[in-house]
């Protein structure tokens, strides 16, 4: 490989690179993300269309782009799977997108020491499949494993996914990483040095290679799903399951509307309103023990088995659980929180209360990250073509953010959309991110407007959503607030 520094000096224009493009279709497709909202809602994203898209395949090529961008003072937006709901990979000032997905090679697999070295643009699901061929498995993976990349999950924190209750967060499972600093410097980092790359949306640099833990393919995967009539019983069950020594790989709490929207209905005879699903994997005896005692805990807590088929259906859908909710929902707005499980109860009740006053739909699911902390995900299914309904959903999510902070939680994913809350409610973290940026990205070219600068003010946003909420309530008072989505029959019946 030629010296990258020399190559960079030769580049005066990105169009010289065969792995870069400025065509409209490439820029449009790489500038979008999961937010299923129309472009008029993107006004606050400012210059949301990138100027260039690049597809590097090596550290040297990433360094080349970063050096060029640094010299020219052009924003750089590292991009993985583009499956973040909060605009983590959305341009706001144009610039160059570094699409890392072509860096997806497995570099080395060490079966004895149980680790793998892999390029960070690899998609979790493909990596899992390749490992399975060799009798190996990933320890952790995100719920969006079908689309997201290793570096993508890392950049949004990698705290909750499949396997995290048992093996810890992604950070706990990574030994070492190769990164390209905003200056173009390629370095290997390990230990505490890695922390600044987790949950920082790429502001500290582009992660290009990861050495991470793997394990033997589990002998058995099994679990159970129980329905509860009362929320506090379901939460108690989740807390007890999370505290046990035999750790599940997946532990989830959902409500009726979520199940109804995702699976289209419940098994015959099931009338519960909340559902706890738990899965164990590993060797046969451990799994059998885990499932047996989990069933005991769930029964003692007042739950009723919803049946094997329904459990299996939900386990099979674990990677598409968030997306399947869009089945009959044109526009899906949601907000994710990181909060102790014991604080969930009042928040869920608050969510239902607000949704009811706005005459909108709402549902939630909660996945355990570790023993006490959970990812609490609230959905506001809507249709953006019904403006008041859509904005009322947004207003509900906004109000829930405030409530979550009151109850000791914080936002799970920050990205572009939530930086405004970060600045308002987590000033210390905001300062921490600013320190990272000023140390590693002096020119501020790396993924601008994420974590260290908000392009909207909290007071303006608060006023907008509060006003929208009041208007929707007025609409409801006048009997003009149409429910545009069907509500589950069992919910309507109370």
């Amino acid at each position: 490989m030629e010296n990258p520094t020399q190559l960079v000096e030769e580049i005066q224009d990105l169009s010289e690179l065969p792995w870069a493009s400025s065509s409209m279709v490439e820029r449009l497709s790489a500038s979008g993300d999961t937010t299923g909202i129309p472009y008029y809602h993107f006004r606050w994203k400012k210059k949301w269309l990138a100027d260039y898209v690049t597809w590097p395949t090596s550290n040297e090529q990433v360094a080349m782009v970063l050096k060029y961008a640094s010299r020219q003072n052009i924003p750089v937006i590292p991009r993985g799977g583009g499956s973040c709901y909060y605009g983590s990979a959305s341009p706001t000032r144009g610039g160059i997108i570094i699409d890392t997905k072509r860096m997806d090679k497995i570099v080395e697999v060490n079966k004895e020491e149980k680790w793998i070295r892999v390029q960070a643009g690899a998609v979790w699901e493909i990596l899992g499949r390749e490992l399975a061929k060799q009798g190996l498995a990933l320890t952790v993976s995100p719920q969006s494993a079908t689309a997201s990349t290793l570096a993508g999950w890392l950049a949004i924190g990698g705290k909750v996914g499949i396997g995290t209750p048992k093996f810890g967060s992604m950070l706990d499972n990574v030994y070492e990483m190769t990164v390209v600093r905003p200056s173009g410097q390629v370095e290997n980092v390990s230990g505490d040095e890695m922390k600044i790359f987790f949950g920082t949306s790429g502001i500290a640099g582009v992660v290009t290679e990861i050495k991470m833990k793997i394990r033997d393919l589990p002998e058995v995967v099994d679990g159970a799903m129980f329905g509860f009539d009362e929320l506090d019983n379901a939460i108690t069950a989740v807390r007890r399951l999370a505290q046990r020594d035999i750790r599940p790989v997946y532990l989830r709490l959902t409500d009726l509307e979520y199940e109804w929207r995702v699976q289209g209905g419940l098994p015959y005879g099931v009338t519960s309103r909340f559902f706890v699903m738990v899965t164990y994997d590993g060797d046969a005896s451990d799994v059998a023990d885990g499932v047996r005692s989990a069933r005991g805990i769930l029964e003692v807590s007042g739950g009723r088995d919803v049946g094997r088929d329904y459990y299996e259906l939900n386990w099979r859908d674990r990677f598409i659980a968030e997306m399947k909710i869009k089945l009959e929902v044109p526009t899906l707005s949601m907000q994710n929180f990181w909060i102790p499980v014991e604080n969930i109860d009042p928040l869920v009740r608050r969510m239902y209360k607000i949704a009811n006053s706005y005459r909108i739909n709402s549902c939630f699911y909660l996945v355990m990250g570790e023993r006490t902390m959970t990812r609490f995900c609230i959905f506001a299914p809507s249709d953006h073509r019904h403006w008041m309904h859509f904005m009322a959903g947004k207003s509900m999510l906004h109000r829930m953010v405030k409530w979550v902070y009151k109850y000791g939680g914080e936002l799970y994913t920050l990205g572009l959309q939530n930086t405004v809350y970060l600045k308002k409610f987590q000033p210390k973290d905001y300062e921490y991110f600013q320190e990272i940026r000023s140390r590693w990205d002096e020119k501020g070219i790396m993924n601008p407007d994420k974590l260290t600068h908000s392009n909207i003010t909290y007071s303006r946003m608060n006023m907008m959503f509060t006003m929208n909420g009041h208007l929707r309530r007025l609409q409801a008072l006048l009997g003009r607030a149409k429910r545009i989505l069907e509500t589950p029959v069992s919910l309507r019946e109370g």
């Binding site: 493009s21 409209m24 279709v25 999961t34 129309p38 472009y39 699409d99 079908t146 598409i320 399947k324």
Partner: protein, 408 residues
């Protein structure tokens, strides 16, 4: 709602909002694998479509290219958490591009021109359509059974028509064939959006002469009339593309009986599987080799026929049948369909090469399929790779093992 319509490119807004852009469909997409860009997979294309429509952008050549660089294999629909009917949408976009004069891509329009002029996309003489029928095979004029030969078996791979006819004759069926009266089933036209358009002849100096108006509905209804006139009740297909189009698309153009076709359609793999189940087929020789099967997209994911070919293969004495890494609903596309091979020849061969790799990984010596386009594409890939692997269709295997080869 007006904001969703542009002067240049209007599109149903309800379809645009279906996709959540979760990108679950990305890594199994053959087109993404080939081009490696977000504009070249189902979710990315829908994102593009939304951008073009909502931002009122002028349709450019890159957009047309991205829309046509798809083999309509439906792997994305299979993967989609909410089953967005992507193939219907992309065919609809292509249709609108053709309507607006921006499509089809590249030289794909030649297929439509030829179908208008000669009733087949190859531009062959219609009167030679039945020239493949050999003297030692039998067709009739009054049978309830029909064999829809298709353009490729009629003109380009005549051995397929011959093998299928011999297979039917073996079971005592003397089918009717439409011969010169058979027009293209319109699969390549529907897939590439050429539903209706004006056709011109272009002279070397650039002057255009109006030839006529291509209308898929007319071609389909012509075929329907001829089939009904002849009293055909059951039609056998050797071509997966024709089978898919007649079974799923023709009802949209057949206005009588509420679109219910007055005949049954059966792919030859189904026909053979049925014969095996009824105990009417005893193989005359064995095939002691390791064999793997490639599911053609049009037969598998589009129509849902996965078991029949496997029933046939597994019944052959001595065969060691092995599945590829991705099979049945999850089968990887070979890249031959949806106008992809016609529009992006080299990319289609690269795609077939990747699928061939999976077949090689099984250790199989023979790759069997049930689609003439898959077979052709795999043969091109084998030639490119220079590997030793037999590529056969089910009918090839049948006549080989039953000793039914014709003279020459």
């Amino acid at each position: 709602m007006r904001r969703f319509f542009t002067k240049e490119f209007d599109f149903d807004p309800d379809k645009i909002v279906l996709c959540s852009n979760c990108s679950t469909c990305r890594w199994t997409c053959t087109s993404y694998e080939e081009f490696g860009s977000e504009a070249y997979f189902a979710g990315g294309r829908l994102r593009l479509l939304r951008s073009y429509v909502e931002r009122n952008l002028p349709v450019d050549d890159d957009f047309v290219r991205a829309v046509y660089a798809c083999s309509t294999c439906e792997q994305c629909v299979e993967r989609c958490p909410i089953k967005v009917p992507y193939v219907d949408i992309v065919e609809d976009i292509r249709h609108k591009l053709v309507e607006s004069g921006k499509g089809p891509y590249g030289r794909l329009h030649l297929m439509g021109d030829m179908v208008l002029k000669r009733h087949n996309p190859y531009g062959e003489k219609p009167e030679e359509r039945a020239d493949w029928v050999k003297s030692d095979t039998r067709v009739s004029n009054d049978s309830e059974w029909g064999y829809f030969v298709g353009c490729t078996a009629s003109f380009k791979r005549k051995e397929i028509g011959d093998a299928t006819l011999r297979m039917l004759n073996y079971f005592g069926i003397e089918p009717q064939i439409l011969g010169e009266e058979e027009f293209c089933c319109c699969s390549p036209l529907i897939r590439t959006g050429q539903i209706e358009r004006d056709v011109y002849d272009e002279a070397e100096d650039g002057t255009k002469t109006y030839v006529g108006r291509l209308n898929v509905g007319e071609k389909i209804n012509h075929n329907m009339e001829k089939i009904i006139e002849r009293g055909i009740k059951h039609i056998i297909f050797s071509c997966s593309g024709c089978f898919r189009t007649v079974t799923l698309d023709w009802p949209n153009y057949y206005r009588a009986r509420g679109g219910i076709l007055p005949f049954t359609t059966q792919h030859l793999s189904q026909f053979l599987a049925l014969k095996i189940k009824q105990g009417e087929l005893e193989w005359k020789s064995s095939y002691p080799e390791r064999v793997t099967y490639h599911d053609p997209c049009h037969l598998g994911r589009h129509v849902g026929i996965f078991d029949a070919p496997r029933v046939v293969l597994e019944s052959i004495p001595g065969i060691e049948f092995i599945e590829m890494d991705r099979a049945r609903e999850d089968a990887k596309c070979c890249g031959a369909g949806g106008g992809f091979k016609a529009g992006f020849g080299d990319n289609a061969i690269n795609t077939a090469e990747r699928r061939l790799e999976m077949a090689i990984d099984t250790g199989a010596s023979t790759l069997v399929s049930s689609c003439v386009f898959c077979k052709l594409n795999f043969m091109d890939a084998i030639k490119k790779r220079g590997v030793e692997m037999k590529v056969l269709n089910l009918e090839d295997l049948f006549i080989d093992l039953m000793g039914l080869q014709g003279p020459g």
